[in-house]
């Protein structure tokens, strides 16, 4: 099979995203991207592992259409004030209560608890998640080593505002993808899960 690297029309991508439904996760949404856009998405994710600040400048400059498409797919969202990447699930470009220290570095921030748990698995690396009980401020630590997970306190659970994999698709920006689909919308990225000691 020959790969076709030409970009689909916005309505084609919108249709693919709409067919995924509300339960689609990040990997599902990435999978419907054309190859060229998928590789750009992977470059943005990789930049979080090599840069000390959220990706900007050469990483995203001059790629407005691509950034708009990734935002329409609810994969990457820029900071409207600075243009830097504020969100590239599972990474956050801003400090959050979910800090993930990867074995061998670097340390990154995740958008929520499930995103933090996903970062070591996405990379196939060991890591340590540091968080706080949002109510008491009690430290919570999660470590993974060679696929074995340890939670401290041991009674820690994940509290989610919805299904763990459900990430509603945001309303596409004007001109990026037609809004004729009936996909649910979310005005801005939000945290959807927390670590809670019980």
């Amino acid at each position: 099979m020959t790969s076709n690297h030409s970009a689909p029309t916005p309505d084609v991508l919108a249709d693919r995203l709409a067919r995924l439904g509300q339960g689609a996760g990040v990997a599902d949404r990435q999978a419907v991207l054309p190859d060229r856009l998928r590789m750009f998405h992977q470059r943005l994710l990789g930049a979080f592992l090599t840069e000390t600040a959220p990706p900007d400048g050469p990483v995203v400059a001059g790629l407005a259409a691509e950034r708009a498409a990734l935002a329409a797919a609810d994969l990457v969202h820029p900071d409207p004030a600075t243009g830097t990447i504020a969100v590239a699930y599972p990474f956050s470009g801003r400090p959050t209560p979910y800090r993930v220290k990867l074995a061998g570095g670097p340390a990154v921030f995740a958008m929520c608890a499930v995103d933090a748990l996903g970062i070591p698995q996405m990379l196939g690396r060991d890591g340590r998640i540091s968080s706080l009980d949002p109510t008491s401020g009690q430290p919570i630590t999660v470590e993974v080593h060679a696929g074995a997970w340890g939670f401290l306190p041991a009674t820690t659970v994940v509290l989610s505002a919805g299904p763990l994999l459900a990430m509603p698709v945001t309303r596409p920006p004007s001109g990026a993808v037609p809004t004729s689909t009936s996909t649910p919308t979310r005005s801005r990225p939000t945290r959807t899960s927390e670590l809670i000691p019980t």
Binding site: M1, S3, N4, H5, S6, P8, G25, V26, A27, Q30, A31, V32, L33, P34, D35, R38, M39, Q42, L45, G46, Y89, P90, A113, V114, D115, A116, L117, G118, I119, Q121, M122, L123, W149, F151, T156, V157, V158, L159, S160, A161, G162, P163, L164, L165, S193, I196
Partner: protein
Amino acid sequence: MTATVFGQAEAVQAAGQAFGGLLDPPDPQETTP
């Protein structure tokens, strides 16, 4: 909105499903135009 509690193993598995393979190169047999 009602919050739901998930156990550790379930949350780890869901996270793996959500993000595992996100940085893998595209399968040449499953390219997406």
